[in-house]
């Protein structure tokens, strides 16, 4: 077990790799009453096509999310109930790139950890329960299809990416999930829920050695086969479409503008690009940027407006959006401001403030065990370290941000998704 200290941000992490390839990270928090465990696989909505043991699989959209729902079923009943009966609050989520299972509890931590490790690693599906789940998830899909924020997001991804499966909804559609069988779930579980493709992160008043011992006891002794993923043909640098617009029952138009970046290969560089991307988004459209103040003062945006940078294997993009009575005007002003920053560079006083604010935000975010553990898992799957950001801040300068804006925020690389109110605004 290796201990690493991050004194500047008051963090300490114990890292250990089991013989089966599982990476374990423990953040001891003796002052807290609760403990949090996060067990995640490097498998999400975008991992639909893959090869395992020489066999190619092409699975329906939504299978990772479906699998997440069904994993809670155990031969003896339901793990959600077992954890809840111990006072833990368990849950799970599926994103484009990862599926994570977690619980938070103030009592019986070790017992709960055993339940978590066991239900996620031991699949138990029957065709009957799969059929029933199709009804429940079908309802969930209908519910998100009514959600304008979800629609604006998924259309943004479709507008940005032509081939990359990140453009597909994580939940799939009512139609796509109808093709899922118990066998599909067993195949996907075998391919992606191998300890060597997973990570366990724990934060709380716990003993790191106990966590490793319990994981060693419950999980398989050896690693299984490696899976190869297929994200389709190479993605062009330009956006798939300049924009996608739909109408829904909303009170005001909502929009997301996104600009496509270059793919960053697996490794620590992903963390630097993510930080640069965040700083670029803040410099362009963050709350203290010239653009934000001017858009807000003109009544073109409100406090719902937000911006940032998202990075998944094989894709990275900047985004900015919210509510506006005139999204097209916002896009025009945003492109103009990006061109100005790309040409003139950033004001040095503004740049140092921006960095200070971003640093403070990242440190404050560590209050949350969820941020700490999920952030570490995500960074690790991308080949980086989430807590190394204090040092990274010293390695980025204003010119990097200027160049990034010049390359990424161009008309060809930009798309805009809009949800207009029904019958016109």
């Amino acid at each position: 077990m290796i201990r690493q200290d991050y004194p500047r941000i008051g963090e300490q992490v114990f890292h250990h790799v089991l013989d089966n390839g599982l990476n374990i990270f423990v953040f001891p928090k003796p002052e807290h009453g609760k403990s949090y465990a996060f067990f995640a696989t490097n498998y999400g909505g975008m991992d639909m096509r893959f090869e395992l043991d020489g066999v190619k699989h092409d699975t329906p959209a939504g299978v990772a999310h479906f699998l997440e729902h069904k994993m809670f079923d155990t031969e003896g009943g339901n793990a959600l109930q077992d954890l809840a009966a111990n006072g833990a609050s368990p849950n799970a989520f599926t994103s484009n790139a990862i599926t994570g299972y977690y619980f938070e509890s103030t009592k019986k931590f070790e017992e709960n950890l055993r339940i978590l490790l066991s239900f996620v690693s031991v699949p138990w599906f029957t065709q009957e329960s799969v059929d029933k789940e199709q009804g429940i998830i079908g309802q969930e899909i209908r519910m998100i299809e009514d959600n304008p924020d979800w629609c604006v997001f998924i259309n943004m991804m479709k507008g940005l990416y032509q081939n990359h499966p990140v453009r597909t909804s994580v939940a799939g559609t009512v139609e796509s999930i109808s093709h899922i069988t118990a066998q599909t779930l067993y195949d996907c579980h075998r391919a992606f829920y191998d300890p060597s493709n997973m990570v366990l992160c724990v934060a709380g008043n716990v003993d790191p050695q106990r966590v490793c011992d319990i994981a060693g006891e419950i999980l398989p002794r050896a690693a299984g086969q490696q899976v190869t993923r297929d994200y389709g043909p190479e993605e062009p640098t330009q956006a798939a479409s300049p924009g996608i617009e739909v109408e829904m029952e909303v009170s005001a138009p909502i929009f997301q503008i996104a600009c496509k970046g270059e793919t960053v290969p697996y490794g620590p560089e992903t963390q630097r690009i993510q930080l640069l991307g965040e700083l670029a988004a803040q410099a362009l459209a963050g709350p203290s940027s010239k653009l934000y103040c001017s858009l807000y003062e003109q009544g073109l945006i409100n406090s719902e407006f937000g911006c940032g940078c998202e990075l998944y294997p094989g894709c990275v993009f900047l985004f900015a959006g919210g509510e506006s009575r005139d999204p097209k005007r916002v896009r025009e002003l945003l492109m103009r401001e990006a061109a100005r920053l790309a040409g003139d560079g950033l004001d040095p006083v503004m740049w140092s403030r921006l960095k200070k604010a971003a640093y403070g935000d990242r440190v404050r975010a560590l209050n949350s065990f969820e941020n700490l553990c999920v952030g570490q898992a995500q960074a690790f799957f991308l080949g980086g370290d989430s807590l190394g950001f204090a040092e990274l801040f010293e390695s980025v300068d204003a010119r990097d941000v200027q160049q990034l804006l010049a390359r990424w925020v161009t008309p060809e690389r930009t798309t805009m998704s809009v949800v207009w109110p029904k019958g016109g605004a």
Binding site: Q81, A85, S105, I136, S251, N367
Partner: protein, 429 residues
Amino acid sequence: MELITHTQLMPGVHLTSIHTNKFKSSQFGVSLLAPLKKETAALYALLPMVLRRGCASYPDMASLSAALDDLYGGSVEPMSVKKGETQCVGFSASFLDDAYALEGEDILCAAWELLGKLLLEPYTCEGVFCSDYVDSERANLVDRIRGLINDKRQYSTYRLGQEMCRDEAWGISRLGEEQQALSITPESLWGCYEQLVKSAAVEIYYCGSAHPERVERSVRSAFAGLLCDGPRYQPSCQVVSRVGREPVLVEQSMDVTQGKLAMGFRTGGITVKSEEYPALMVFNGVFGGTSMSKLFMNVREKLSLCYFASSALSKIKGLMLVSSGIEFDKYDQARREILAQLEACRSGSITDDELEGAKQILTNSLHTILDSQARLADYWLEQRVAGLDRTPEQLAALLEQVTVEQVVRAAKAVELDTVYFLKGREAEA
């Protein structure tokens, strides 16, 4: 460990200060407490939004954002929440804790000073709020009021409350009504501000690594402009214990693919202040408040009637609200099944696992409040409005003692008042 200090700074102005070393940030809150009323709800909701636009020292967004960035990107959010029939407006803020400042800056003092300025030294034009700020924030408020419709689950609960309490203050939205918001002028808002600063109860909150004496010193200095020249509001709430009529059904159609069924119950006069409150909490946990509950296990899991089905308490007002997502044609079945689960609780058909499970989840949830700055701030604001000073641990200890007989009694006190059903357009045909 946490150390909680309550201090009365002057009559009607109170500081709750929690000393702890476990967070990376410090949480700050300043709330003005006033009765929730139709005439003033929109004015009060708009006030912090306009105040947040600038103060005399930082008159615009650019200078204010720069000041916040210099404090390591602190966040100051305008706030308008409803606690019972009290509207709480002001700011909730989070700053990097002094312990993590890279150059030893005194963030605590600077943060209080900034919050004091935002509340007490507003940016004005000709003696009132500047009309640019009022116009643009009024438009934002109207957008937010209209935007309540966007999230259909929340919207259905909001509409249920409105219908159920149409003659009570609780039915008023924390954002006020669109018509009221549209009629606000810089002059009317200024008049409301001057009145509110004098008459509202003021709740100031801190949670972080600073010692209570240091916190009190900086708060007293930052809020020295608050005057002590008259009585301040004392929170109160009308509790309706009996319905005395058949349940009312309200239906609404919209272009949606999933229906929402919301059901509002009165708790028979049991509120957070009642001796029976821990029993009511456990009852709600058994019935629909947890993932071990009868609604979750039976209505959602066993019968697959709903995608979600849960219940929540409005603890100061004495209400229990059930929220569920169903297919349009399942209305009768879902309603019947939800009431059947309530009947099961009333008749004492509660297993030991259900009782213990609900208690475990609820006590766990109370203990984890201590590990979350935002939840802790909200918890203490609620306690202050209710006139209580019970810690989450004390409430958890009371929960542990609750017996099944007490749960049954609480279940029997609960009575259905109003049902709200949001259905699709095609269902009208």
